[in-house]
């Protein structure tokens, strides 16, 4: 491995996403043969970066992201900050000739995402690569779903069902977090987890949403503010409440119905109030020859229904996506041994590094990320207009973005 050229990485941000990305950069080269050797060179955080460097194994630390841009010994900038900062950092990095991995959502606003996609397209011309981090695409079962769809097992796609059900806001006495503040988070359940089901359904279907009708709801409009001092290593979704109240300015839940370019219809729900559902990202695709289903709560499995089987033995089969024949899994453990949440981040690193070395456009591209942002925006605009059907703008770049599923 030491004979491979290095890929020197700076990570901007160091919350729980930083932990996941650090683990990916550390672990991926141990289990996959990579054409470039990632080096964990620099971590950037406004406070506590040095401690994060030590904990997560980065060689150096800085408090301003511009340090990563300015240093010559950085080849790739990995952005895991909140969405409102993505555009500025990513564009600067690309313009400085650094590859970029940017966490989803690509940005908090379409206009920002458009500028990012344009910057990525320009950078492409110079051999500089950009990827949007929809890591769930790299869950082996999700890749396997895509493979099966691409092979044609669905026949003509008619229906998509996609839900992302969580319940961490179900208790109305739970405190405010930055995720409930529109200024910081941009959006609520829609942008945070709705983005995942949009990206995953389009990726797996190999099809793009063209119009939507949607509804947003905020069930609990006031919540206690977070106490000023929080427990160490707080993991993003919890926290200790104070006596003061704050206003929730994002949606708690979103429901939308969309039309795909192929004519298929998708029903979507994203909520943080589905009591008892912890991380139920569910997808089901129904075609005239078969159906496929997935639930992130059982992420090592998929379900496949082959409608062409003999009529007396039709049924959804539970495929354990843990075998050598499945995407990525052969590099890990023997048959039947499950992977966890963070493995998808390692696979993301693997694919990105290989794309950079092969001079290919990584996917999901920034154009893909922009397209998701446009769907989110169309849902918001539809909801604001009494659920009127709202078109999702397309552009030349978008044509690219529907070529999902490599």
């Amino acid at each position: 491995m030491m004979s491979t050229p290095p890929l020197r990485v700076a990570m901007i941000g160091h919350g729980f996403m930083g932990a996941a990305h650090s683990q990916a950069w550390r672990v991926a080269p141990r289990f996959f043969d990579l054409p470039l050797q990632p080096e964990m060179t620099l971590v950037v955080g406004r406070s506590g970066a040095a401690e994060s460097a030590e904990r997560w194994g980065w060689a150096d630390a800085a408090s301003d992201w511009r340090a990563a841009i300015e240093r010559d010994d950085i080849d790739l900038v990995d952005i895991v900050t909140p969405g409102d900062t993505h555009a500025e950092i990513a564009i600067a990095a690309l313009e400085a000739g650094k590859h970029v991995l940017c966490e989803k959502p690509l940005a908090n606003a379409v206009e920002e995402a458009e500028r990012m996609a344009a910057a990525a397209q320009a950078a492409e011309q110079r051999g500089v690569r950009a990827m949007c981090g929809f890591s769930y695409r790299r869950v082996p079962a999700v890749q396997q779903l895509r493979r099966l769809v691409a092979e044609g097992v669905l026949g003509e796609l008619r229906e998509v069902r996609a839900q992302y059900l969580q319940d961490w806001l179900s208790d109305a006495s739970g405190p405010m977090t930055w995720r409930l503040d529109k200024a910081l988070a941009g959006s609520g359940a829609l942008g945070d987890i709705g983005a995942h089901i949009i990206d995953m359904s389009q990726f797996v279907a190999g099809d793009a949403l063209t119009r939507v009708t949607g509804t947003l709801e905020t069930f609990v409009r006031e919540r206690p503010l977070l106490a000023p001092i929080q427990p160490a290593r707080q993991k993003g979704l919890g926290g200790t409440a104070s006596d003061q109240k704050g206003t929730v300015t994002v949606d708690d839940a979103a429901w939308f119905t969309g039309r795909f370019a192929s004519g298929a219809v998708g029903a979507f729900e994203a909520t943080r109030y589905a009591t008892g559902r912890k991380n139920a990202l569910r997808l089901e695709l129904s075609g005239d020859r078969g159906a496929l289903a997935f639930d992130l709560e059982r992420m090592n499995e998929l379900e496949y229904y082959d409608a062409t089987a003999p009529a007396d033995r039709l049924g959804f089969r539970r495929v354990q996506v843990t075998e050598p024949e499945h995407p990525y899994t052969g590099n890990w453990w023997p048959t039947g041994h499950g992977l966890g949440y963070e493995h998808a981040f390692s696979h993301q690193v693997v694919d990105l590094v290989r794309d950079i070395a092969a001079e290919r456009t990584p996917r999901p591209s920034f154009a893909d990320g922009l397209q998701v942002q446009r769907v989110l925006d169309a849902v918001e605009r539809s909801a604001a207009k009494g659920s009127a059907w709202t078109d999702i703008p397309t552009s030349t770049e978008d044509q690219l973005s529907t070529e999902v599923g490599r």
Copy 2:
């Protein structure tokens, strides 16, 4: 049993619903102590009624439903014909002083349902009873869901998820049936199976929908006509195709989002194209203290999540609704022995007969059936207006109809 007064029944119609209702009238008195003894007096069918009488055990047969109205020895008229005939028969029966059990949907049009509800209300004054046959309310697990909600296990209800997923139209070469012809069926998936999820969700929640936004879709607009001669005992959903084509004039699938009076939001889907799903009527209710779920494909089970349990042992529990403590089940078999589809019809007969004897209004009443019809109508109107939010009209009678769940 012989000392109990008789309840002489005429059944109008004799398709597969007739088989289910006949079984209920025959079996219910064997397993439940009833205050009136049902007698299977007359079956009416435009053709083949005599054969049906023999097969299903009715004492007499006629070809015109008016025979049932005119005969003095009929106490109750059980209507299992297609929806376009319900209003005329039911109103005539009620006016003739006969109790009525009318299959869902109450009618094909709101106006018809309104007249029926008015007739039922008038008949009530004279001690004549009317029930709308949403038999799935009488599945033991559904009654148990309602009991748990009424007891307060959900806390504040926030979200309802309801799907009725079937796949019998998934094959585009399958032939037309009367169910795909708007003139006869009134509606497609929406009216046929969407009606069930509307009724069941309102019943279990004890809450009424007040407005909706919806979308309808017909995926396959032309299908082969049925061959003139069909196999004997054809069961309603299949059939043999001819060479000629007919036009599908109803919806294949419907998606709608609704607001309940309590403020809860419901997401609904009814489709006949969910490949691999045979009879998946699924309901999930999420509140701040718990959640409940049901799937008709596993009709002897429910799922219950108690959010107030200790944090290290929270989880959806699978309750087998087959125990003596559960509704209806103690009258059948020992612990752990499942019931089937037709048992709900027996329970419907049990409750109806007991209500008649006790001089109570049976539920679901015709007003309840009308309310479901108004929801269906609002979905259709919303879909026709680009999914605009559409109010569901209320009236004095509707106040009654929200008192679900006895």
Copy 3:
């Protein structure tokens, strides 16, 4: 139907099994075309037979089973009494030229079962038929399992897993019932529910056990006696306790491992102490080309694993055995509509009546029932000898009994 010749039935016994059999005789002819028309002529019970006749719809009642033998107008005797009475009644009925349906277990002792099988074999020569009532064979999913095995989907059978898990004795304060008294019940969990997994596994596998090693256990050796007066319509597994104690003389649970004639190995467990398992009769067969599984708690489903499918999409598929292509189901309801516990009894009646009319030997025959009894006996003898491997005697008649699975 009225033109078909009658089959006049007398039922001996009228507990909960009597209810199930009555329902079968009443309902089967409504849903299946039968060559003989069952007539519910006589019910026999030592007390309360007249009430049972009225409740369950039998034309006449008697207190002594000999009445059924003596009457000329009885064609078939249906025996649902406890096992200690089976031999005397069945042999008398067969000798009197009456067909016999005898509930499982065939008898409480091998010697009795041998005499019954001999009587059945002699009666065969005179055109008189005998069937042992292992009704679970007639659950559609179980028949479908047998069909798939007969078709060869398992390849070479290696392993059988069979469990019958119940929990109604889990509470040590629950009272004694006749089922815990060896003098009446003959055996405990082994004979009652172990008999089912022996019969079902042999039937589905098309293979016979030849030797076993087994263990029996009685966890709770003393229980309160039943109070003298019990609630009306007590359903056999419960009851009200008195202050006095009685001794449990049967096994609470049994575990045994057996060798099939083919060389396959079976692991069996029958218990009434599997807390939370209400009626979990589970079967799994593993061969080199596939596997099949079943759980009576989800009796409308089976699971099928096709090991010859492409390696990236292998998985157990959940087949809903509710379709027209499946055994029996097309006679009942449309696609996706589940059946319940009692339907298997109707199917048993259907097959028996057709066999009688076709002059065929019904299966399971008394020889089949005897063979199950010999397996049970071998398990008991093994357990008494410190789990030593114990052969199951075979005979000419047994050769017949391994031709299971028509």
Copy 4:
């Protein structure tokens, strides 16, 4: 972290277990605060150790395990070689004052395990620690099971069901591997995976097996030998066949019934022929107050049945063991995010390092490992004696070994 004292580790062996242990040593300190800082100092392998050092991140490499014993800069020896080498290496390491982590099974023979346990006991006196690597104890769901049992949720334990179902030998044309050679592997399914269900059931129950009756079977006695040249990075369970045949000298499957000290009865099955089951380590414990179940194929879940809940809402609940309240999980990802196979190895490292620093005896101790070996041996002896019940010898050390479940 750098201020903590180092713990310098040498790993002996570098197959797939070496990959898992390397990952654990690398990752554990990133997610858990440890009192000693593990340093990956040396890896030993008879060939290819240098490559493994580079791939898995060990500072140095050697070809003879004695190098690890002799070097002063090694504090802990981690043994992941086949079982026939464990005793020699472990005893030498302990005598040299090095802590030892030894993979399960502790040894291939009881006599070896006895010597190892004695060596560990002696080393204890000098502050040198030894742990046997039954990593599945450290799956969060398994720890949570143990917590619940210790809290008393089962009441009086009656029954244990434990199965380890794999299918990688189901295809009779699959080649020989060292795991099928008694000289190397010591035992087949029994020792390899049967050991896991013995350890896990005793650990979770907090109870020890005292006697067993068992059966072993080798379904396929001859298999193709492995071709001399195998694909790179072969993962232990597969391989390419040659034309020559070899003899399988170990068991393919094992079934045994055991008595626990408490009086509970356990039914065990370990097989590599359970077609379609990839890694189904299943455990169920039934007591008079509740039941608990687990399946390694869904390793982030457990099932809990509380028999003391109201009778109308009893049911097995599926607990997602992914919450901050659960063992280990709070150190990883937010609520609802699953872990994979290798995380249990990280938890093993965490507990071992903490025990060493706290001067506690790690569990499972070598005495625990010896006790499992004695159970395996008793099963083999029982099988050789026609399944006769066979006692499991106890000793003073064994008393220790039943104190499971810290």
